[in-house]
Symmetry: C2
Subunit: 200 residues, 2 copies
Amino acid sequence: MATPIEFFFDFSSPYSYLASEIIEPLASRYGREVDYKPMLLGVAFKHAGTRPLVEVPLKGEYSKRDMERSARFFGVRFALPDPFPIGAVAASRAVIWLRDRDEQRARRFVHAAFREYFVNGRNIADTTVVADVLRQIGADTDRVLAAIQQPDIKERLKASVDAALARGVFGAPFLFVDGEPFWGHDRLPQVEKWLASGPF
Amino acid sequence: MATPIEFFFDFSSPYSYLASEIIEPLASRYGREVDYKPMLLGVAFKHAGTRPLVEVPLKGEYSKRDMERSARFFGVRFALPDPFPIGAVAASRAVIWLRDRDEQRARRFVHAAFREYFVNGRNIADTTVVADVLRQIGADTDRVLAAIQQPDIKERLKASVDAALARGVFGAPFLFVDGEPFWGHDRLPQVEKWLASGPF
């Protein structure tokens, strides 16, 4: 099997959620797996001197409309949650911990957490909601919740974000396919061309 | 014939150029015309507190790669010019003047100017290059060059930019189809869906 698609995301990013729903069938059509790597947009924004989309005048209003229309375009269920945006650090740490042990389970957690927030409108920055998501995917909830309080996992997430920045990741979703960078759910047609016929 | 597609653009925007090449066959498949309306990204950036793409750390480097790859993806000839970006005020004023008199000719001017800059690498901020483009499309070069020095045309461009901002145009290309806003060449698949089957 070819190398996995690296998928950097932030749980607070609607376009990351959309891409996470679209990428799975796309990747499997070309025999690829998706490796979900949490990053923190807040850190990236500070680094690049940018701001959350919805805080930018005009662009913020448009982007809300665009998120909803893009979801309809792709046939993905979506409702802009409140509060939004959030800092989903605990959920991101859970991905790191799960990914070390069982990539399939980490992947199921990513999808379940995204849907909890962007479909059911539950705030995944809240640890009790993270616990619910862990239960949904059959993880050892107490063990994971205890683990993500430990300094080593906190450090691992920080290192993951730093590594992303060092590779030029300034937003989310941000994908690497065979090392080639693609930013945004709207580059998935280009990702597909790359998967189908290689570099172009 | 249904209402034209409003196409707000800046001559210095590579993604506007890309979209201008893709939109024509798309629009004509659905019996629509494209109405090119110049705006000035510099003014929009000031308004929204944003910056030219290439000046943003990380994003700037990525965007250059993405512009070139996106052009290849769509089969559009493209070479990032130097200098870039530019302020193409004279060319924008020429569009306003031509558009008042002959929409077809204004459209030919837009395409010819874009190609002069993004294919041939000639600086369309330079009046002698604007003159060449006017000659290419068979316009009365001296008359247009004199007209765009007049206060009324300068004022008309300013009013066009202000009207764009008032309608929420914060970037380019920015399209309105039946009043619905679409930002970016990467929303053309959504534009096509809209043209094919209406609101979604």
